[in-house]
Amino acid sequence: MNTADRKVIHDAMVRLSDGDRSQVRELLGALWPILLAFARRGVGHEQDAEDVAQETFLRICSRISDFDRSRDGLSWAFGIAKYEVLTHRRRLRRQSQAVDLPEMALAEDPARSQEADLIAHELELALEGVLGKLQPSDRAALGLESIEARAAPASAAARKRRQRALERLRSLWRRLYGES
């Protein structure tokens, strides 16, 4: 940027701070490419750079009545742009921290635990259905008919009966619900 361009921007700022409203358009025309380039370097992402440049321009307009005309206008504008870039970066950092939170919250999400309960309940119903299709002797071998049978020490013959009953239960399950 040469000195003449710098002076054009400074003069537009001085006139705008004096109360000449028409200078908003002039200032935008002169300052926009510079603000956008500055924001691109500071932010990187094109869409974000445009947002930051816009915010910077609006901030300049809002604070121009406090502009000290003895200072260089462009340097003053860069000061505001720098602040906006830093604010944007801080916002991004906060957002990236906030993105991690839902994953942590997911483990304790009550909606998810309700879903898990529902699945477990459906599995129980399915298992009860399959067990109901077993022969009474197989249910007895699995210890489902009485608590005493389940608590009694298992003989070799009983273990063999239980194993066979389990195999029949698995094959029945596979027939009804597949391998999963």
Binding site: V24, L28, L58, D66
Partner: protein, 180 residues
């Protein structure tokens, strides 16, 4: 892609809001001054009336442009003298309606006005050699002085007004001669 026309409109809106915010800061000084004047029951209505006029005019001038902004500052600085001294004299029991004190009341009020007018002319001609700036600052100064001198009576207000106008005129003419 940013729409620059729309951004220009938003910039103008931000500019006006920023100017209004800067203009309203004068209320921090004027509101207590009006309240202090309105403390006196005898002149309450007149104080509120002049105070509202002074506040409205000051905010509007400061919002409009930099010349108005600075004229209000000059007017308030200069008008602060008759305001403060008027309050002090009122507290001491001086009243322009009383026969034995009328001369002092007139004299002091006129003198305060002269000093205020001289300050206005000195400041305004140094910053901008325009009669409108002096007239605006004098109007603000007279209103501020009126707030302080209301308690002394209408004669005091007239003396301050006359003093301010004469002081500003003489000082301006003297500076004009010196510059020539």
């Amino acid at each position: 892609m940013v729409n620059l026309d729309e951004l220009s409109v938003r910039g103008l809106r931000a500019y006006e809001v920023g100017r209004m915010r800067a203009a309203l800061r004068v209320c921090l000084v004027l509101a207590p001054a009006v309240l202090l004047c309105a403390f006196e029951a005898r002149t309450r209505e007149a104080c509120v009336c002049v105070g509202v006029l002074l506040l409205g005019l000051s905010v509007w001038l400061r919002w409009r442009d930099r010349n108005g902004f600075e004229a209000v500052s000059t007017g308030l600085w200069a008008g602060g003298i008759p305001y403060a001294l008027g309050l002090v004299l009122g507290r001491l029991g001086v009243h322009c309606g009383a026969e034995e004190l009328a001369v002092y009341c007139w004299g002091f009020s006129g003198l305060f006005g002269l000093v205020a007018g001289a300050i206005i002319a000195a400041r305004e001609t140094r910053q901008r050699p325009r009669a409108s700036g002096i007239a605006t600052a004098a109007a603000i100064s007279i209103l501020a002085g009126t707030l302080g001198c209301l308690r002394l009576g209408l004669a005091s207000v007239l003396a301050v007004t006359l003093g301010t106008v004469v002081g500003a005129f003489i000082r301006r003419e003297r500076r004009g001669d010196a510059n020539a």
